[in-house]
């Protein structure tokens, strides 16, 4: 019944009822604290290029969490992620910006406080996701994927057709810089941490980090409880989900809305990162099919349904792209492979990563991580996992209800 024929849907760490019967898992808490500390200290040491690359990865991670929720947990394939990114970025720019006159074009803005605009943008994007729900309720698997892809092309058209909102494809518009209760995320004002001045890049890093942590915890918390169970049931067996009281259509609609909200949030961060909202001039752009595919690659590499996996996937997919761009000259890629841009090369890199995952570990990085942790703890979790993967999968597919 599972629609996720690409790879085995992963039972994420978030789905484990940890702490429900067991007490706190101290090694994990300490490990997370260390990771967080490193992420807090990193901007003090990183050169500007890597700092910017790290921000980009965090943007990707927020979006990837959204996709792994709808695709990995709820079993609904979405290729519309790039569209929701565009909606989020545009909504923020319109809500936070001022109305200006650019040549013949009047560019509309509401001048909301940036935090309000960010929240508004997320809500608006979620509503766009909800509006797609009737389609999501009728189609399954790859058909749903193709239908959702239509949104990307609608976005491509609207981005150019509505310059009053987007600024148009040739020039775009500059989004209002983020600020929080009067504190600007720009170079304004002098603050420092351990003697290192915190300027726009550092401040944005911390903003993105906070957003990512909140998005991560929210997703993990929800997937651990009632909503996560309902979504996984919809993914695995719709009739059984319904028999247990889950309103399947509603669950799919909410999953789409939540996923769109994450993508919209990533879209806001993306325009803050670029300092520019710019609709695509060609189909191969920031909001094109290639971006939707990149997000798909993130969640496949990370392990479908796994939230930490989505973050790791973003690191590999968008990280490799940034690293290749940064070091293209050093690596001699510019001359030796003339005609291949770093973006195209990174496409091959994560394309191969996806193939490797499909061939060798359908559970992705999440499964590798789990098995490693289990091995370190000397538990027999890995045996259990592998027998779980092959165990009863040969049972006849349910014919009841469908």
């Amino acid at each position: 019944m599972s629609e996720t024929a690409l790879a085995t849907p992963e039972f994420s760490a978030a789905g484990r009822p940890a702490g429900r019967l067991r007490r706190r898992n101290w090694p994990a808490i300490i490990a997370w604290a260390v990771v967080l500390l490193i992420l807090v200290l990193l901007p003090l040491y990183l050169p500007p290029g890597l700092l910017s690359a790290g921000q980009y990865v965090m943007v990707g991670a927020v979006g990837a969490i959204g996709l792994t929720l709808v695709f990995g947990q709820a079993g609904q394939l979405s290729l519309a992620h790039a569209f929701f990114l565009l909606v989020g970025g545009t909504a923020y720019s319109v809500l936070a910006g001022e109305t200006t006159q650019a040549g013949a074009e009047r560019i509309v803005g509401f001048g909301w406080p940036p935090l309000l605009a960010l929240i508004g943008a997320v809500v608006i994007t979620a509503l766009f996701g909800l509006a797609f729900a009737p389609v999501a309720g009728r189609l399954k698997g790859i058909y749903l994927g193709i239908a959702s892809l239509a949104l990307v092309y609608i976005g491509f058209y609207l981005g150019r057709a509505l310059p009053a909102l987007t600024g148009g494809a040739s020039s775009g518009r500059n989004p209002e810089p983020f600020s929080l209760f009067g504190f600007p995320f720009t170079n304004e004002g002098d603050i420092a941490l351990f003697g290192v001045p915190l300027r726009q890049p550092e401040r944005l890093w911390y903003l993105f980090l906070v957003v990512l942590v909140i998005g991560y915890l929210l997703a993990a918390g929800a997937m651990r409880g009632r909503v996560g169970r309902a979504w996984r049931a919809v993914r695995d067996h719709e009739a059984a989900a319904a028999a247990m009281g889950v309103n399947v259509l509603r669950a799919k609609a909410v999953a789409f809305a939540v996923s769109a909200a994450y993508a919209g949030l990533a879209g806001v961060l993306l325009v803050l990162w670029y300092g520019l909202l710019k609709p695509d001039e060609s189909e191969f752009g920031n909001y094109g099919l290639n971006t939707s595919i990149a997000f798909l690659a993130m969640v496949l590499i990370g392990g479908l349904g796994s939230i930490p996996g989505a973050v790791a996937g973003a690191l590999i997919v968008w990280g490799s792209q940034q690293i290749l761009t940064l070091f293209a000259a050093d690596l001699g890629l510019g001359t030796a492979l003339s005609g291949f841009s770093p973006t195209v090369i990174s496409l091959y890199v994560y394309g191969l990563a996806v193939i490797a995952v499909v061939l060798f570990e359908p559970g992705g990085l999440a499964a590798i991580g789990r098995n490693t942790v289990a091995a370190l703890r000397g538990r027999r979790r890995s045996d259990m996992d592998s027998s779980g993967a092959s165990g009863r999968r040969s049972a006849p597919p349910g014919k009841d209800g469908k």
Binding site: R226, A230, A239, A243, G245, V246, S387
Partner: protein
């Protein structure tokens, strides 16, 4: 909410179990008459068996009751309530729990997680309240997890609550399906072939479990089963379907001797086991 407090083994007597009436239900799939004016009543607190050869329409009948299929004609009535058609998710709240003929669990989720799904209609909270782990969600979750663990214990699953269902032997997975249906706190439990694919020992265990849970919870059980031994041993009443028609309905002893039933099961030998 007496349902949430009455636990298996507490022996609480309940008076809120209504009768389930299948009222002249017909169901057609194109040219196939899966059900043909089928009527029978599951009396409160009984184990009622629905039997018949392969393709007789037993699962279809379950799916009509569960609201998954819309009957071409007829209706299903629970007490005074006509059950809604094609609103399957509303039935759990009305006190109807069901298990599936083919295991319909989330293989990668733990046993407890699967059983907790049965609590869906009894609990609240959406993405945000769950995501922020608001105190009341956490409390609710803990309370219902305790009850789910109790149900698991009742079904002999205590030692595997943290195990992914996919790693369980088939016999145990079958019991998880029943546990999940019980987690709904049903007044009527629909079990579609709970003993299919089980060996003799597991089948006897399952039969004992069904008898026990009916006694402990005082609920009605509507049971589809191929295993005649199991059916005749535990059912209070038996309805027999053949090609979508109800050909017999009565106490096991009478149904067993019914000439039409014998004809429908012709070739099954004297042990009364029907062909698979």
């Amino acid at each position: 909410m007496t349902a949430t407090t009455a636990g298996p083994g507490t022996g609480t007597t309940r008076t809120d179990v209504p009768e389930l009436r299948i009222d002249a239900v017909s169901l057609r799939f194109g040219g196939i008459q899966a059900l043909d004016e089928v009527s029978f009543t599951v009396r409160p607190g009984t184990v009622h068996a629905l039997i018949g050869p392969n393709g007789a329409g037993k699962s279809s009948c379950f799916n009509v009751i569960s609201g998954l299929y819309r009957p071409t004609e007829g209706r299903v009535v629970l007490g005074e309530t006509v059950l809604p058609e094609l609103r399957p998710h509303r039935l759990a709240a009305l006190g109807i729990g069901r298990s599936f003929q083919n295991i319909a669990l989330s293989m990668h989720s733990t046993v407890l997680d699967n059983v907790m799904l049965g609590r869906h209609a009894l609990t609240h909270g959406g993405f945000l309240s769950g995501g922020f782990r608001l105190p009341w969600t956490v409390r609710e979750e803990r309370r219902h997890a305790a009850r789910a663990a109790e149900i698991c214990a009742f079904l002999g699953l205590s030692h595997v609550v943290e195990t992914p269902v996919g790693a369980l032997p088939y016999g145990l997975a079958k019991r998880v399906d029943v546990a999940r249906a019980l987690a709904v706190e049903p007044r009527i439990l629909l079990l579609d072939e709970p003993a299919a694919g089980l060996n003799a020992v597991e089948t006897a265990d399952m039969a004992a479990t069904i008898v026990d849970l009916r006694a402990a919870l005082d609920i009605s059980v509507l049971l589809v089963e191929h295993d005649m031994g199991l059916v005749m041993g535990i059912a209070d009443r038996v309805s027999v379907l053949d090609f979508g028609r109800l050909i017999a309905d009565g106490p096991p002893a009478a149904v067993r001797r019914d000439p039409e039933v014998v004809k429908a099961y012709l070739g099954t030998g004297e042990n009364g086991e029907c062909p698979r």
